[in-house]
């Protein structure tokens, strides 16, 4: 590269430099306008009236309840999708079976469906007038407008994250190492804990990170199914909306800033993971392209 750049007979050097500058400037402006600026606004608005209204907004019982609910939902949804994601990626990457491409497409379904629809599905299935609604009501089980519904909707929306992170990684690693472990006398369980899991460790962490960020930030699906009962079924994103609609921007932005911090933390953790495992960067960049081809092949 340097050789080419230094070659004296390279006339279009200045225009190329100009084009490069313009492109970088355009990208920065775009990022600044659409990503960084809103991000900054969240924090300035949250702290606009000083620190104590900010703290008060977070200490409000409804806010505390929302934070607690969000953490609870994530604490259930993320481990579930961790297990499911590993199992699905394992099946897809290491075995040949009928309906494998269908499974791959299904994993992507929550990405393809609008979150509002995802929430509605559960209302239709478990709601008062839904398929199982009367039966559930007769047995005193509340799903819709209650925590179980929020958990279900969140699990649905976030289930591709871990699986999609792991499928390309595990496919590229193949089956040889596990088969070697078995031929050396290891049980399937030992092969998983001692060979597979260490090999996917970093990708798995990354998938969990993204899954968690989405589980805490999910709005659409949860909004439909939660019923917005303050202090009971309000998650943080829903609480932000309520506060904002009540013309309480400081409190809204205070809670929002927590979510923004979560996003920031996710990004930082991701950067740290990538610097530790360069092969992960490769795998996660490949992921969407591969999945797209596969989905295309199925269609």
């Amino acid at each position: 590269m340097t050789d080419v750049a230094n070659r004296p007979a390279a006339p279009p050097r200045r225009p190329r430099g100009l084009a490069r500058g313009a492109l970088i400037a355009a990208a920065l402006l775009y990022l600044g306008g659409f990503l960084i600026l809103p991000f900054a606004v969240v924090f300035t608005q949250a702290l606009a009236r000083g620190f104590s209204p900010f703290v008060d907004a977070l200490a409000d019982p409804a806010a505390v309840a929302a934070i607690r609910l969000t953490l609870t939902v994530a604490a259930i949804a993320v481990p579930l999708n961790l297990v499911f994601g590993v199992a699905a990626a394992w099946a897809v990457a290491k075995f040949e079976f009928r309906g494998k491409s269908a499974l791959l497409t299904l994993i992507d379904l929550p990405f393809a469906v609008s979150p509002v629809i995802s929430g509605l599905i559960y209302v239709l299935v478990f709601g008062a007038h839904g398929w199982f609604g009367p039966w559930l009501a007769a047995h005193g089980v509340r799903i819709v407008f209650a925590v179980p519904g929020i958990v279900l909707a969140t699990v649905f929306v976030t289930f591709p994250f871990v699986a999609r992170e792991l499928v390309p990684l595990m496919q590229s690693q193949g089956r040889d190492e596990e088969e070697t472990a078995l031929s050396l006398g290891a049980t399937g369980w030992q092969a998983f804990w001692r060979v597979t899991l260490p090999n996917i460790r970093v990708g798995l962490l990354y998938g969990v990170l993204l899954c968690n960020a989405r589980a805490m930030g999910e709005f659409g699906a949860v909004s439909v199914i939660s019923g917005h009962i303050r202090g009971l079924t309000n998650t943080m994103p829903l609480h932000v909306e309520i506060l904002y609609n009540e013309y309480n921007p400081t409190a809204a932005f205070a809670v929002a800033s927590l979510l923004a911090l979560l996003a920031l933390g996710t990004l930082l953790a991701r950067a740290a993971l990538e610097s530790h495992a360069p092969e992960l960067r490769h795998a996660s960049r490949q992921a969407p392209a591969q999945t797209a081809t596969r989905t295309g092949a199925v269609a």
Partner: protein
């Protein structure tokens, strides 16, 4: 017999990977399964290892039926083409793996494992690499580690899938000679799969040639080379020239060239003849042609001759440098070619 495979069949969908395969490998032998890619040789090896289940047929290891045994209980060492070293473990931990996964009752003491691993690393001449990661080693070194790892559990049978396939020529040659010496020193039974006929001929005691899920021939390397059972074996093992011919009334005709006597039914055939079996002369009988290339490197000289009116490709004759110095062929010379030994096969046998 250390390895016996009886009437094995395997299909993948509509594709017949293995069709009624029988093989025997005697105890202490180093045998090779040789065949082009897609002939089913790797599938066969994986069935013997227990990594794949056959649709029909039986597998015996050391005289005991192993068809239903899981891979863990078969006591086979399996070495993959791409080494399959555990990438997150050190070389030491890789080699120790098979010992450390044993149930506590059967597991050797820590010191015993250490001693065993060090002994094996010494055997593969990589004792200095114990603390390294696989990624820090060259291909040849990695394959030696893979071998040490397989040997750590003292398998009765060692199975190797294209063990040298991913290495460059020189390392490959060194490593296969080393494997042969190791095999002779340790007296295990080995079966390896390769598509490289030279590798099979040079290392193995017995060669099994496969094609399209069937066995074409089995025998010693010399038998397979000198007395090929089919046209496919003749062409696949060793180098050869191939000519399209027609037999009519006891005479073989290659284009407009003078006929050669050959008994058998009339029809279209392929003649397969090894370069060293093609006689070359300046006068007298045979097929006329013209020298188009001479390659005089090493002990043997290759002379390419374009036969008059036959085929687009020249034939290759091979003889000693001594004789070449004496007769001195050069590009453009008019010569006569006589096939001394050759095989005549139906054309479909070759493809």
């Amino acid at each position: 017999m250390s390895i016996r495979v009886d009437a094995i069949r395997k299909r993948f969908g509509d594709f017949v990977a293995l069709d009624d395969i029988e093989i025997d490998v005697a105890t202490g032998q180093l045998a090779a399964i040789l065949g082009p890619s897609g002939c089913g040789k790797t599938t066969l090896l994986r069935i013997i290892a227990g990594l794949e289940t056959p649709d029909a047929g039986r597998v015996f290891l050391l005289g005991r039926e192993a068809t239903e045994l899981p891979v863990q209980k078969r006591r086979v060492g399996f070495v993959f083409q791409h080494y399959a070293l555990f990438r997150h473990m050190t070389v030491f931990d890789n080699v120790a793996f098979g010992l450390t996964v044993r149930p506590r009752r059967e597991r050797p003491a820590r010191a015993a494992i250490r001693a065993k691993v060090e002994e094996l690393l010494g055997l593969v001449q990589l004792d200095w690499a114990a603390a390294r990661r696989p990624a820090q080693l060259s291909g040849g070194q990695r394959q030696r580690i893979a071998l040490a790892r397989a040997l750590a559990v003292e398998p009765e049978v060692l199975l190797l899938d294209e063990p040298f396939g991913a290495l460059d020529t020189q390392v490959r040659q060194e490593l296969r000679r080393w494997l042969r010496r190791l095999h002779d020193a340790l007296h295990f039974t080995s079966l390896f799969v390769t598509h490289d006929q030279q590798e099979a001929l040079e290392v193995a005691d017995a060669v099994i040639v496969m094609r399209r899920g069937r066995i074409e021939q089995r025998g010693t390397p010399a038998e397979v080379y000198d007395r090929p059972a089919t046209g496919f074996v003749h062409r696949f093992v060793g180098s050869s020239n191939e000519l399209a011919a027609e037999r009519r009334g006891g005479a073989l005709l290659v284009g407009p060239l003078p006929p050669i006597a050959s008994s058998g039914p009339d029809g279209r055939f392929s003649i397969v003849v090894r370069p060293q079996d093609l006689g070359l002369s300046r006068g007298g009988g045979g097929w006329p042609g013209r020298v188009v290339a001479v390659r005089a490197i090493g002990a043997l000289v290759h002379v390419e001759v374009q036969l008059e009116g036959a085929g687009p490709d020249p034939v290759v004759a091979e003889f000693s440098r001594e004789r070449f110095r004496h007769e001195g062929y050069a590009v453009g010379d008019a010569v006569f070619v006589t096939p001394a030994r050759f095989g005549v096969y139906p054309p479909e046998e070759l493809s």
